[in-house]
């Protein structure tokens, strides 16, 4: 396959990303949720926590298999990237890069949230909260609490018209709803794993998953498309990495957080990997990102 032109190779990678990250993972997760009810787990975990841990473990295991398959197909020698273990300075700087990425990503997310809400306010010109109660993904928000909260907001909006207090409270609630949405989709099994199992085990499961992503989207994609030139190869890698985040999320609003994070992280990591092909600091940066964003 290595003698194909790079555009065809990029197409092959796109098909692979859609097939694995969308359809294969959805089937795998459905299987895991079914297994969560039938397997003998400890009583102190509820079904969603069992499901989350099983999903993350299955995702990691399948990801490792997929990496092996991709290595066979592309014929790339992965061992030359595993040279970062001795560079402690790079690993520490990788952690700092992860912290910077999560801070920048959350700033950009906040800008987008404020922008969307400001546009909505200007368009409707009034309090709009009573109309929309967004469906929350994964039952993250308790229904009773939500109902009382929203009726209180509605009462405030009725009594005080367009006063600042009602508007601000309403806006704050909606931002919170949005933040609640972001806990759905595939982020849910990371959260549930962090809550259920011990921290080192959760970190190990996350690191397998995240490290495989780094190997696929940086190590394999960028190396396989090296002859396309830096701009095209980095653009392809970032695009695939960003598209991958949208799969299995419940809505566009929920997908906004991982998408913004993926753009920041994709560009940074791709540029770094293009010039210095070392994977381990990037994996450390990715894990640090997850620790700050999820834990």
């Amino acid at each position: 396959m290595n003698d194909l032109p790079w555009a065809l190779r990029a197409l092959v990678l796109t098909v692979f990303v859609v097939v694995y990250y969308k359809y294969a993972k959805a089937a795998l997760f459905a299987l895991c949720r079914r297994a969560a009810h039938s397997l003998p787990f400890g009583r102190r975990w509820d079904a969603s926590e069992r499901g989350g841990v099983l999903e993350l473990a299955a995702a990691g295991a399948s990801h490792v298999l997929v990496v092996a398959l991709l290595v066979l197909v592309t014929g790339i020698d992965l061992t030359r990237f595993v040279s970062g273990a001795a560079r402690l300075d790079l690993i520490a700087l990788g952690a700092a890069i992860g912290v910077g990425e999560v801070a920048l990503g959350s700033l950009l997310c906040r800008v987008l949230i404020e922008g969307v809400q400001a546009r909505g306010r200007r368009r409707t010109g009034s309090v709009r909260g009573a109309r929309t109660v967004p469906a929350t993904a994964g039952g993250a928000v308790d229904a009773a609490v939500r109902t009382t909260g929203w009726s209180a907001v509605r009462a405030t909006a009725r009594s005080s018209g367009r006063s600042t207090a009602g508007n601000a409270e309403d806006r704050g609630e909606r931002t919170r709803q949005w933040l609640g949405l972001s806990r759905g989709g595939w982020i849910r099994h990371h959260l549930k794993t962090m809550e259920a199992v011990s921290l080192p085990l959760a970190l190990a499961l996350t690191a397998v998953q995240v490290g495989s992503e780094e190997i696929v989207f940086r190590g394999l994609v960028l190396t396989w498309l090296r002859d396309a030139g830096p701009v095209l190869a980095i653009a392809t890698s970032c695009l695939l990495f960003t598209v991958m985040q949208v799969f299995l999320m419940s809505s566009w609003r929920a997908a906004m957080f991982p998408v913004v994070g993926a753009i920041v992280m994709g560009v940074t990591h791709s540029v770094l990997f293009w010039h210095y092909p070392v994977l381990l600091p990037l994996v450390v940066a990715h894990v640090t990102f997850f620790l700050f964003a999820v834990a």
Binding site: I97, A103, E114, V145, T148, G172, T268, V294, A295
Partner: protein, 285 residues
């Protein structure tokens, strides 16, 4: 040797350290761009950080970033971010004069944008409560009291929801001045220097635009209008830095602006101040 975006320092003896340098400069750029968000994250996350005022954490973080930048890029590079600028040391008095002119202009523009965007509010149906009852509890005492915070679901809970409280808006003058100096050193000094390291004028211009845009966006915690209102300050400070070769003009303009903000907030009627300070999440009671 792979081609690098970031050239080595001229005095760097060991070429094998160039990847460390690239990683360090990338981390420095990311952390500098997001320093206010990072301070807010740290402030909401750990109780012992929360004992400091948020702007104090911000100033400490920027101090660490400026120190790291001075170590990585050379001691003078943060103050004079344009290498080999023809103005030389004459840029300092020129910058001071330019900053003194720019400051009032920026204040005017900011006020015009903020007031133009403000819609006419109808009078509230009931009289506004007294200030003592309207003040929102801030800091640790207020955390975990709201309906949506009482559950222990997930950990995203309070991560991205920094909103300025009474305590943050009624800030002390010395903190505001320190923030002005620190932000100019980071955004105009450090990030301009990092942007000018990029090869090609379009990449450098892109870096400068990104730094200015992120500076404006970092005021999003005060509302979307403030992002628009801070864009003139960002552009003027960036232009003044490129023109005079040092950050003195930007520092003076920003200090003038922040002193004006402090006086404006202090002279505001108490009732209006209380309502504005209620922030994103509204009054708790």
């Amino acid at each position: 040797m792979t081609p690098t975006l970031i050239p080595d320092a001229p005095g760097m003896p060991d070429a094998s350290l160039s990847d460390t340098r690239a990683y360090a400069l990338t981390a420095l750029a990311l952390l500098s761009l997001a320093c206010l968000t990072l301070a807010a994250h740290l402030h909401t996350r750990w109780a012992w950080v929360r004992r400091l005022p948020l702007l104090g954490v911000h100033v400490l973080l920027m101090g660490a970033l400026v120190a790291a930048g001075a170590v990585l890029l050379g001691p003078g590079s943060v103050v004079q971010p344009v290498p080999g600028h023809p103005a030389g040391w004459w840029g300092l008095p020129a910058g001071a004069a330019l900053g003194a002119v720019l400051g009032p202009l920026v204040v005017r523009t900011d006020l015009a944008i903020t007031t133009a965007w403000r819609t006419a509010r109808p009078a509230p149906a009931r009289p506004a409560p007294q200030r003592m009852t309207a003040a929102r509890p801030s800091g640790f005492a207020a955390s975990g009291t709201r309906v949506s915070e009482r559950r222990r679901t997930g950990l995203v809970r309070a991560r991205n929801d920094y909103a300025p409280t009474d305590g943050d808006l009624r800030v002390r003058l010395e903190l505001l001045v320190a923030v002005a100096i620190g932000e100019e050193l980071v955004f105009r000094g450090l990030l301009t220097r990092l942007a000018l390291l990029l090869p090609g004028w379009w990449l450098a211009a892109g870096g400068l635009v990104v730094a200015a845009a992120v500076f404006a966006c970092s005021h999003v915690f005060f509302g979307w209008v403030q992002v628009l209102a801070k864009t003139p300050l960002a552009l003027a400070a960036c232009a003044a830095t490129l023109l005079t070769g040092n950050v003195l003009a930007a520092v003076v303009a920003h200090v003038v602006f922040n002193v004006w903000v402090w006086r404006y907030r202090r002279s505001e009627p108490v009732a209006r101040r209380g309502r504005a300070a209620r922030g994103m999440w509204g009054a708790p009671a």
